[in-house]
């Protein structure tokens, strides 16, 4: 049985939706990233409490019209990549008290 994964926004980043693009800046090296649409949905819903497969099913599949199996596989790889850059936290347990920044949609 596959373990559930939880994802949370890192507290060490700042983020803002500008136009149609999500800009994310990491305090580490003041590095700026622009998230693609899938990563943006993942990041916006990474609350540490909702399992990744639920985010995929309820948000990503709906937004991008992909099957859950394919989408989950891609989302796990994407989450790993975002975690490597310090943008997301990943755990097999719910993640709490991260002081994650709320996604801004101005």
């Amino acid at each position: 049985m596959t373990k559930q994964l939880y994802v949370a926004r890192s507290p060490r980043i700042a983020a803002r939706m500008l136009g149609e693009e999500m800009l994310v800046m990491s305090a580490q090296g003041s590095t700026l990233f622009t998230l693609n649409p899938t990563a943006t949905v993942l990041w916006q819903n990474a609350d540490g409490a909702t399992p990744l497969d639920q985010i995929v099913e309820s948000k990503i599949c709906r937004a991008f019209e992909v099957t859950p199996d394919v989408a989950l596989h891609d989302a796990e790889a994407l989450a790993e990549d975002l975690a490597k850059h310090g943008i997301l936290l990943i755990s097999e347990q719910p993640i709490s008290n991260t002081n994650s920044p709320e996604p801004e949609r101005r």
């Binding site: 803002r16 500008l18 136009g19 693009e21 700026l32 101005r106």
Partner: protein, 271 residues
Amino acid sequence: MPSLAPQLELPSAVIAIGGIAVRVNTSDAVFLAMLEDRYAGFVSEQTHAEFEFDVDLYPPGIANPDADVSVTCDSGRWLIERGECRAEWQPALGRGRIRQTANPYSIDAVLRIVHTLALAEKGGFLLHSASAIRNRKAFLFAGVSGAGKTTMARLAPPDATLLTDEISYVRKLNGGYVAFGTPFTGELAKPGENTSAPVAALYLLAKGAENGIEPVAVAEAGRELLSNMLFFAEDSEMVHRAFQAACDFVQNVPVYRLTFVPDERVWELIG
């Protein structure tokens, strides 16, 4: 046991940039005269200063104006190191100490960093850009080295007031953005005028075969603004503030790509 001797007041110069005054205390008359000359248009008669630095000079060495800068913060105490210069600063106390040789580059670097950090608290920033006032509106011209900042400043018509050819000073005031003149110079080696005006536009410079202006999408504007902002500290809170300041700015001020032929006709598009 605390000393009962009265503290001697050192000779000092108050350097006010962007409405933020920094008092520099030094016992060295020659160094003080150098400061008063270098920052001539920005030396203030006011007695109050937000921040105050005591400067300890040590014998001349080889000052390297291109030395890397290190800015770190530990428990509210900032440490700024650049080449032979070492400065400590506690913003909450408004005081700091600089140890350096009697060269102009070190104090200049410290002032830029102090203003960068002070502005970040207020939603403002320093920007690698030329800026000028025309028709009571300020225009910023940003770009990396070689993009044309000095060229734009050099080509400015007589009715334009140059704020800087190198480092623009942007404050968020009363819900808008105001650009101030700075003494921080680039190739033109000419300090800006000590005046200010509301920011009307930011132009991202690009040299081309003909003059033209086109709007820049807000996300691209944000990326380019961030790449041109002066920023020194890897402190998480400061990074967050600088990022939000840049995003706020591009959501409230028009940003354009200014492609230009390097002659005076480009200013026909400005103002």
